[in-house]
């Protein structure tokens, strides 16, 4: 049971890993630019300075944008770290030290070294000979800086009366990598396959345990045919081969044509009239006729004729002479026809005893066969 649980957990983990890997490359994929913002607090003066390396941490040309409210003059300047630090001196300022998260710059407030109040007009670094790059504007300024060897700092200042520290936005173009896509999908697929394999193994193992209660069943292609004459009811010649109701539970045996031929031949060779009763359910003969459900070995077939020519029995006619049930009368009608005289005829022609003696034969052969309750019209009944 726990193995199945582990299999399920593995499968779920695998799907989750695949999903996370795909999501990291799609929904969670970072933008093509890394943009980070720093909002400096006014108590920290009007100056914002980046630590060396901050401008270069995005790995490419950085675009610096600074905005300040109102008519504040915004000045951007990039210079050597020592120059910027020297220019700022002991003024309170905000230091941008790095990234706090993917969109925010980490800032540190640096208190002024001297308690003296800042001069009324905020200091303006615009135009200093020390700057390598600079830009200024009213309310906003922007510049782009391509990394160079050395330690460089950005100085952002709000200048003029009532100036405040500008909000600084640094943006770098970045090459977005999707490092988790392939590992996520691969690991997920492995987990998923492992889970599936484990599950399949567990399931197959259960199947194997159940196999002990199954037994092989072999089927024989050859139907078992009761030997003719051994136990089949033999009735008298011309007698019906109708079986008693008690014999219905005997297995239905379908004979092949060959078997039928052989059976017929045995009848001829033994010159014994067989009252073998067959049940031929819906069996169509070669001539397309539907065989009667209950029939007898054709008696009128000439010996030269092989096969199973159905007996040309006349349509059953209920015997008005008897008050038997239709079924019984049917059986009787089968034989209580002029066919009976025909049968006597071929018996005679084959040297059998007469119709009267046939009863004796029937009596010997048909010991096991059920006797019809009434056999009206049979000549053999006369004995």
């Amino acid at each position: 049971m726990s193995t199945r649980l582990i299999a399920a957990v593995l499968g779920v983990l695998g799907l989750a890993a695949i999903g996370l890997g795909v999501a990291s490359a799609t929904a969670w994929r970072a933008g093509d630019t890394l943009v980070a913002t720093a909002r400096a607090g006014s108590p920290n003066g009007t100056l914002v300075v980046t630590a060396p390396g901050v401008l270069e941490m995005g790995g490419g040309p950085v675009t610096v944008t600074a905005r300040a409210s109102g008519a504040t003059k915004v000045v951007l300047a990039i210079g050597k770290e020592t120059d910027v630090v020297g220019w700022v001196g002991t003024d309170p300022h905000t230091l941008i030290a790095g990234l706090a998260d993917g969109a925010t710059l980490r800032t540190e407030a640096v208190a002024g070294g001297v308690a003296a109040p800042a001069p009324a007009p905020a200091p303006d670094p615009d135009g200093s000979d020390m700057w390598v790059e600079q830009a200024a504007g009213k309310g906003a300024a922007e510049l782009t800086w391509t990394p160079q060897p050395g330690r460089w700092s950005l100085l952002v200042a709000g200048a003029g009366a009532g100036a405040v520290a500008p909000t600084v936005v640094l943006s770098w173009p970045q090459t977005v990598k999707t490092p988790w896509l392939v590992p996520g999908v691969v690991v997920g697929a492995i987990l998923l396959l492992a889970g599936l394999a484990l599950g399949a193994r567990t399931w197959l193992g259960a199947r194997r345990d159940d196999r002990s209660v199954w037994y092989p069943v072999g089927t024989d292609a050859t139907p078992v045919v009761a030997v003719a004459g051994s136990s089949s009811p033999a009735t008298g010649r011309g007698s019906t081969s109708e079986q008693s109701p008690g014999s219905d539970d005997a297995p239905t045996v379908v004979l092949t044509r060959r078997q039928m031929r052989e059976a017929a031949a045995s009848v001829h060779t033994s010159r014994v009239s067989l009252g073998l009763a067959w049940r031929l359910r819906g069996h169509r003969g070669p001539d397309g006729e539907t065989r009667p459900e209950t029939g007898s070995l054709p008696e009128a077939v000439p010996p030269t004729t092989s096969g199973m020519r159905p007996p040309a029995a006349p349509a059953p006619v209920p015997d008005p002479a008897t008050g038997a049930s239709p079924r019984t009368s049917h059986a009787a009608a089968t034989t209580a026809t002029p066919g009976g005289s025909r049968a006597d005829a071929w018996r005679r022609s084959w040297g059998f005893p007469g119709a009267d003696s046939s009863d004796a034969t029937d009596g010997t052969d048909g010991t096991a066969g059920p006797q019809p309750p009434t056999r009206p019209g049979l000549s053999g009944k006369d004995d």
Binding site: I6, L20, A51, G53, G86, R151, L191
Partner: protein, 339 residues
């Protein structure tokens, strides 16, 4: 059941591994990784920046020269340069151009840039030859503090025939030397002081041997004293001229051979006292009197003239045991008083 237990263990290990892999699924934020702070500071100015500074100074000079007004000159000139240029404007104005301005070419021939991260910062520039075919100038640019601009502190006319010592290229930078730097045949401050003594005492100075053969500036100063001394003798008066280094106005940058380029400011004071005679004050002197002396005024007692001097030296390293060479000088009358 060992097989099944083993299987379970394997599955559990797989799950833990997957959890670890997924747990490590957070790309790190880029961190600043600045270059290591260099052991030697980089040059204070790049070549482009130096060119920009020279251009700014030149623009300032050009506009002021046109107006012959010192107003606004202080934004880009300081020290002896500011005093000299202001005086020149006055003289030029007073003489209607007869006495012209010192031609200052702001195109660099050689940049000698200090490598430092402190202030003040002083750099030297050898300019190309001016249009008037006078000798190239050695400009001294100075940034007094981080919030100051680079200003023209002074200039000297390079003396004829001198050879500038080799200096480091501006992308490497030269080491600024303090006024009391050791390792030289004399400290920069001493060099200026000794030269003042030599100017005053001539070959009789104890330091005369420390300088190369009398340079043209020294010769010019000595010869300039002659007429005034003659006037003084004619009027039963006296003439004295003293040369004094200006305190803390000596700057030095190392040269390639371990020596130093030293530029110092000096003040020359000429005092003429006489009796029983009158001395009409020429316009160029009256112009720098600050209005105290009207042009054409006849002085009866005394005349005092002050000059702002800037002198450049090459000071060899101590091991060289070579004399100090005067590379150039400027000597501009900046004030006149008299009665």
């Amino acid at each position: 059941m060992p097989a099944r237990r083993d299987l379970r263990r394997r599955a559990a290990a797989l799950g833990v591994g997957a959890a670890l892999v997924l747990g490590a699924c957070s790309p790190g934020l880029p961190e600043p990784s600045p270059a290591a702070a260099p052991a030697v500071p980089p040059p204070v100015l790049t070549i482009d920046q130096s060119g920009h500074v020279l251009g700014a100074i030149g623009a300032r000079l050009a506009s002021s020269d046109t107006a012959l007004s010192a107003a606004g000159l202080e934004t880009r000139l300081t020290g002896p340069a500011l005093a000299s240029r202001t005086a020149e404007y006055a003289v030029t104005t007073a003489t209607a151009g007869a006495k012209g301005l010192t031609s200052l070419q702001m195109t660099a021939q050689t940049l000698i840039v200090p490598s430092t991260d402190t202030w003040p910062r002083t750099s030297f520039v050898v300019t190309k030859q001016p249009d008037d075919l006078s000798s190239p100038r050695l400009l001294v640019l100075q940034q007094a503090g981080p919030r100051s601009q680079y200003m023209l502190w002074g200039w000297v006319r390079l003396l004829p025939g001198i050879k500038m010592p080799a200096t480091a290229v501006p992308t490497v930078g030269s080491t600024p030397l303090p006024a009391d730097a050791k390792g030289l045949v004399a400290t920069p401050a001493d060099v200026v002081a000794h030269y003042a003594d030599v100017l005053f005492n001539g070959d009789a100075s104890a330091y005369a041997a420390g300088f190369a053969a009398p340079d043209s500036y020294r010769q010019g100063i000595a010869s300039g004293r002659g007429p005034l001394a003659k006037v003084a003798s004619q009027a039963a008066g006296t003439f004295t001229e003293t040369y004094a280094p200006v305190a803390d106005q000596t700057f030095a940058l190392s040269t390639a051979d371990g020596g130093a380029l030293v530029v110092g400011a000096m003040s020359t004071s000429s005092a003429l006292a006489f009796k029983g005679a009158s001395l009409p004050v020429p316009a160029e002197l009256a112009a720098v009197s600050g209005g105290t002396i009207a042009p054409g005024t006849e002085l009866r007692n005394s005349l005092a003239v002050t000059y702002a001097d800037v002198i450049a030296f090459y000071v060899p390293p101590a091991a060289a045991k070579a004399p100090v060479t005067v590379l150039g000088a400027e000597h501009i009358r900046t004030s006149v008083t008299g009665s």
